[in-house]
Point group: C2
Chain length 388, copies 2
């Protein structure tokens, strides 16, 4: 086990009707707030009205900024910063999924900052020393941003998608009502599931030894996600299954499952080039990249992959060799992804090999990505090929 | 799953040599501190010198108050409060185990409070609205107080042992170096283990249904504790096993494993009367009470006990009836406790049945304890009898 710090101060308020507490929670931090959201879905579902009612009951003044898109844009972030400065906003309330949370975090960091907010996402980025306090009403379990110190923003000039982070942008509270996820379609649900599992894989596949507790916690979370996704696909309004997935989405990304380990994150980088060029959902890209990555790297630590096959995918390893157990585990994961409606090959979504070299070059250049196995340009190219 | 709040803002700083960071962490909160500790062990091990050196390097002024005993006493708490008020102390640094942390928490709450600190532990207790900030260097994994908002203090007048709690007394940081636990004897280690497992059982055995994620996380933690205790008993200086236990001790009690559930805590109350009268270690009492409690209550939710037997104690349930699986699970738990050197019957520690009625009366009077099954005086009496 490696030395670590674990810090996760966000207050999670979880369960039915919890959005009715948003007024009293918000009032602890601010009186004049920016209400930040995405498209119109929160208005169609009635969530917007319930949030506004709860805020009004506490006498909170609300300035609105909607229109966040998936892969949140710097332009809207800058608009939010101008609004917050011009109107002396003292709190940002985000109602939405990961993209909206990230957009809100960028506004929170950028408002008190003297320079331009993109500095935080650029080479030689300054530390985020302060931010307007922020709270979240979560509507999509996937990104985990509601409990993380991280954000990803896309700069329309050059379409650069970049991460940044720091403790000041952590949400003060995250209100999570699983009922708010009933309106997510099967497809929206499973691309979130793919993201949640990917967040666990990135931390689980570590070369650090003696991490029994955290490995077992990760396996517990993966098994729960696997089981409850099946239940949701039978009934999109299954409260208990939606609740398991929503809480698992936060556990997958609050860094508990990274304690004492060293995350990989190579597959996220490899996927990133796919979704940047082909504009596919991140979760679809991850469901395609991970099987290929696993097949390419498992020889670096077979024991770990045997453990994954046996404990997560229930492969009975008794009379088999390591190699068979591992490959059966990966195959069962692929079968599961297909069963729940995720693509597992680039050909499933009509992507061919013509731009592999370009993507591999953009992904690592002359450097490498990943930790479990450090992957150079040629490795990344081979992984794209395995994903065909 | 029930609605819940999860809040655990303590920064955990975990690993080798992390006590050398105590000066820089402390300086974030205070310049003139109360250093609170127990007996002389931290001086014998050299930890005291290392802590003092790190504090001096940051120019922190240190006022000392040692002498905390197991079951921390109100008298010393009051002395600490007088010192903090008289010397304008702005931070409390605890170096020790759960009793020392609890004593420090009581001083932290009592110092800014206008009334008497015992008010917080009395009927009709006021809310703890503020406290001096507090930090911890942990030396014993067991109580989990380093990540909880709770404390237990004993009033020498009447020997009343009472709990209290609130967010303001949470530790700002908890420094946890597993090497600091190398000097714990096998016996000291396993009574801590019993406490850690008990904290998990109290949350695990809940009548709330649909708690798959949290059940699995609890099972992961129990299995890790069971495995690594065996390793420690082979080598008290096994760093990795000590690390697993130390982190598991915090996970067992930071309330993650209670999210969406309803804890029982009846066995803690039943044990409390034992250790109050016979002055046995809390961990020994819990190892005796839990098997008896389980045998008395399992019929209230057999499915839960089957799950416990199969997933935690590896009972192969295929061709057996529920009852056999459950009783085999409890028997295997008892065997394990005996193997690691814990008593599992009152007769193992020479306690007879002569004061059962008195203890049952003190435990519940005309009320009940526990939630999994509400236990009245007669039930508690029967559980003591099963523990003989």
């Amino acid at each position: 086990m490696k030395n670590f710090e674990f810090y996760c101060p966000t207050r999670v308020i979880f369960g039915k009707n919890t959005e009715s507490q948003v007024g009293t929670e918000t009032k602890k931090y601010g009186k004049k707030i920016l209400l930040h959201y995405g498209g119109g879905s929160i208005k169609r579902t009635g969530l917007y009205d319930r949030v506004i009612k709860s805020l009004r009951q506490e006498g909170i003044e609300v300035i609105e900024l909607g229109g966040v898109m998936p892969n949140p844009r710097l332009g809207l972030v800058r608009e939010g910063i101008d609004t917050c400065r011009g109107k002396n906003i003292d709190f940002i309330l985000v109602v939405g999924g990961g993209s909206t949370v990230d957009s809100g975090k960028a506004i929170a960091a950028g408002t008190p900052y003297k320079g331009d907010v993109w500095d935080f996402f650029s080479n030689g980025a300054p530390e985020i020393e302060t931010a307007i306090p922020l709270g979240v009403v979560l509507t999509i379990p996937a990104a985990g941003s509601e409990v993380s110190p991280d954000m990803v923003v896309t700069n329309e000039e050059g379409w650069l998608k970049r991460p940044a982070g720091g403790d000041p942008i952590r949400s003060r509270f995250s209100i999570m009502n699983p009922e708010l996820t009933f309106t997510l379609s099967a497809h929206q649900t499973v691309i979130g599931i793919s993201d949640i599992l990917a967040h666990i894989y990135e931390r689980y596949f570590s070369q650090v030894s003696n991490t029994e507790l955290v490995d077992r916690l990760a396996e517990a979370t993966m098994k729960t996600v696997i089981n409850n996704t099946r239940l949701i696909l039978k009934d999109l309004r299954d409260y208990d299954a939606r609740a398991e997935i929503m809480w698992a989405g936060s556990i997958a990304h609050n860094n508990l499952l990274a304690t004492g380990k060293e995350g990989d994150w190579g597959s996220h980088n490899i996927e990133h080039e796919l979704s940047a060029i082909y504009d596919i959902p991140h979760g679809e890209g991850l469901a395609i990249v991970f099987p290929a990555w696993m097949k390419y790297v498992y020889r670096e630590n077979k024991a770990k992959f045997v453990q994954f096959a046996e404990r997560v995918w229930n492969i009975d390893g008794d009379s088999k060799d390591e190699e068979s157990i591992i490959l059966e585990g990966i195959a069962r994961m692929e079968e599961y992804y297909k069963e729940i409606g995720l693509p597992v090959r680039l050909s499933d979504i009509d992507i061919g090999e013509d731009r592999f070299a370009e993507m591999a070059e953009k992904c690592v250049g002359d450097s490498t990505t990943g930790v479990f196995k450090k992957l150079d340009k040629d490795d990344v190219f081979e992984i794209y090929k395995l994903a065909l």
